[in-house]
């Protein structure tokens, strides 16, 4: 029985800007157990990064408003003070970001930056911190860690930098690792390596992972559960296998359909979702996907709740269509028939 580490309940985040109030996240809920990987998938502006950063408390600002609960170790992370939050960051929850080049301070050595993370939370002297840094670099697969630990970030390649970032994030043995688009800025071959590394480390450190990406292919292998986000909401959530074999939301169909696949006939066009994501300041009424949904109907003027409509428990979605209609429409969409509509 896995230990429940994190519970996000009905999280909402609003930002006040000069253009109006941006409703970045609304009604997001999920749970994370030890040893599990949750993938959060969505396009830019879907709210996935804001959700992750809010868990870390990095979105706290004079113009930000929060609703709901982020429950960790019985505390609501949205309400604790900044100083208390500092104790959680890095220590209990680690985070790595998209661009490893700009995410590392260029004037300090890699080893120094890792040691800094360690010494921020544990009473370790410089030498020991340095040794641990070397060990961490070894664990993330950096060759010659004893000499590379004294290098500067610009002397590392992109993949190695991301490994160093991972080492830094895991240096204090956090229970949760949040990876925000960790592979987007890397070559495809390196991407696979990094994802594998994260999976392996999750087992080594016995932690849980939240993997954020816009690319379903990246999480397909390692995620136990996937949440698809759109316009600040989760539109579908469920075990990975379920999501891939029985997706319930038209947006998910679009995402799956837009993955280039070798088994498709050459003449078929790649399906893409028409239109653009809505403005988070002026969201449409009702279902937020309605303007881009080829299957929208009368009931869609009312926003669907995130509910379990399918036989498998734990597989939730936000679509009014009944399950059978969904399945038949879906198979047409994913195989690209719909794109040839007269």
């Amino acid at each position: 029985m896995s230990e429940r580490l994190l519970e996000v309940k009905d999280l909402g985040v609003d930002f006040t800007t000069e253009d109006g109030v941006v409703h970045a996240v609304d009604g997001v809920s999920f749970e994370l157990d030890r040893g599990k990987v949750l993938g959060i998938v969505g396009e830019s502006g879907s709210g996935k990064s804001v959700t992750a950063m809010t868990i870390m408390g990095l979105t706290r600002d004079i113009n930000a408003r929060f609703r709901g609960e982020v429950s960790y170790q019985g505390r609501n992370l949205l309400e604790i003070s900044d100083t208390e939050m500092q104790n959680f960051r890095g220590n209990e929850i680690g985070m790595i970001f998209q661009d490893p080049m700009t995410s590392l301070n260029p004037v300090y050595r890699i080893g120094e930056q890792i040691a800094e993370a360690i010494r921020a939370h544990e009473h370790v002297d410089k030498q020991n911190a340095h040794k641990r840094a070397v060990e961490l670099l070894r664990q993330v697969g950096i060759p010659n860690p004893e000499s590379r630990v004294d290098d500067f970030p610009h002397q590392f390649s992109g993949g190695m930098r991301q490994r160093a970032m991972i080492a830094m994030a895991l240096s204090c043995n956090p229970a949760i690792l949040i990876a925000d688009e960790p592979t987007t800025a890397l070559d495809v071959t390196i991407q696979a390596q990094i994802v594998e590394l994260i999976s392996k480390l999750k087992d080594d450190f016995n932690s849980a992972v939240i993997m954020i990406t816009h690319d379903l292919g990246v999480v397909a292998d390692i995620a136990d559960e996937i949440a698809v986000m759109y316009a600040g909401r989760i539109v579908e959530r469920g075990p990975t296998r379920e999501l891939f074999y029985d997706p319930q939301h038209p947006y998910t169909w679009g995402l799956l359909g837009s993955i280039p696949r070798l088994d498709r006939a050459k003449q078929e066009r790649l399906h893409s979702i028409t239109g653009a994501p809505p403005s988070l300041i002026q969201l449409p009424q009702g279902c937020k996907f309605r303007p881009r949904c080829p299957h929208a109907f009368e009931k869609c003027k009312e926003e669907p709740a995130l509910e379990n409509r399918v036989e498998t428990p734990g597989h939730l979605d936000r679509c009014w269509l009944d399950v059978e209609t969904k399945r038949s429409l879906r198979d047409a969409t994913i195989s690209g028939d719909q794109t040839e509509a007269a």
Binding site: T16, T17, E18, I62, N63, T274, G275, A276, P278, S279, I281, Q282, L283, P284, R290, P291, R292, C293, P294, H295, A296, F297, E298, K299, D322, T325, L329, A332, Q338, T339, A341, A342
Partner: protein
């Protein structure tokens, strides 16, 4: 439950639905956004208004001289008298030995319009009306300041574009040129050029400029500042040069001139505008400094810097002579700096400090 069959819903219908929905994100040009940000900055606008007011007042110098003060900027009234509140007073009091003590001759102090508009701010040792000289001096200082900025920025932009776009030996030569003049302290270079040219004027390249002309400080200052504007702009052009849209232009066969002026120039425009504003402020102070030392505007032409140096000797008895032009400089330069600051904030795409709620 109402069901719709696939044939009634196509992607076109979806597109129609999309159009009917509110909430699409409208694209706005960065200039529009900048203008909107600037509009909200009341402080900057007040500063701009102040600057324009100062320029207008100085431009009206001849009107003031003719109608209110009834004298020109260089007319000396050493031996004249004037009626202050009905009392006849010497414009420049007699010096000499009075009651056994050596007394300096002191010009009249500010009359603040009680002498019918004459000598509102007082007179200097040569009996010249300070208020009139302030306005004419302002005209000259502003002319030199704004004119030198325009010339400086123009050449700096051209050189930066050439160096940044072409690279290679053109860049090498232009950068060496910049570096060379960076090696001189600005004031010292200005003094060197200003004094050397002040004696005999400038008679090369078909130009014939006499030694007392306003063109000398103007050209000297514009020349001296070119590296300070050119180098940062060149840096910007260099980083823009690497961007893909330039490569795209080149691959479409655009000529260098076209790329420089249609692609590169608009992208550095915001920096150019900010520089222009701030350099005017800098040049007004520089001109004042040069004129104060004697290497700028030459006698008898007035400028604010010149007035300060002339008023220095009388600071104890007639502080207004040195204070007034100084305050004028401060107000002008301050208003430009505040506006330039607001301009920079508005044009900067990265919102650093945002609205508080």
């Amino acid at each position: 439950m109402v069901q719709r069959t696939e044939s009634e819903f196509t992607l076109d219908t979806a597109a129609e639905l999309a159009e009917a929905e509110p909430g699409a994100i409208r694209g706005r040009s960065p200039w529009y956004l900048a203008w909107r940000r600037l509009r909200r900055n009341y402080f900057a606008f007040c500063a701009l208004a102040l600057f324009i007011l100062i320029v207008a007042v100085c431009a009206a110098a001849p009107l003031y001289a003719h109608h209110i003060a009834h004298t020109g900027p260089n007319d000396e009234h050493v031996l004249d008298t004037v009626k202050v509140n009905g009392k006849t007073t010497q414009v420049v009091s007699q010096g000499g030995i009075i009651k056994g003590k050596l007394v300096a001759s002191v010009p009249i102090g500010p009359t603040w319009f009680s002498a019918g508009g004459k000598f509102v701010l007082g007179a200097d040792v040569l009996g010249r009306d300070i208020a009139v000289r302030m306005l004419y001096g302002g005209r000259n200082s502003l002319l030199v300041g704004i004119g030198s900025s325009a010339i400086c920025v123009f050449f700096a932009v051209v050189l930066a574009l050439l160096a940044g776009y072409f690279g290679g030996w053109i860049d090498f030569v232009i950068t060496r040129f910049f570096d060379l003049f960076y090696a001189f302290p600005v004031v010292l270079l200005g003094i060197a050029l200003g004094s050397a040219l002040a004696i005999n004027g400038f008679h090369h390249f078909g130009l014939n400029i006499q030694s007392g002309s306003l063109w000398i400080p103007l050209l000297v200052i514009s020349y001296v500042l070119i590296p300070y504007v050119g180098r940062p702009l060149r840096g910007q052009v260099l980083s823009l040069r690497e961007k893909e849209f330039i490569e795209a232009s080149i691959s479409q066969g655009a000529s260098p001139i076209r790329i420089m002026f249609s692609d590169l120039l608009p992208n550095i425009m915001s920096s150019v505008l900010v520089f222009f504003t701030l350099i005017i402020a800098n040049n007004i102070v520089l001109e004042a400094a040069l004129s104060f030392l004697g290497a700028g505007v030459q006698d008898p032409t007035p400028s604010w810097g010149k007035l300060i140096s002339q008023g220095q000797a009388l600071i104890v008895t007639r502080p207004m002579l040195a204070l007034a032009p100084g305050i004028a400089i401060i107000l002008t330069v301050l208003s430009l700096n505040i506006f330039g600051d607001g301009l920079r904030d508005a044009l900067d795409p990265r919102a650093k400090v945002r609205v508080e709620h």
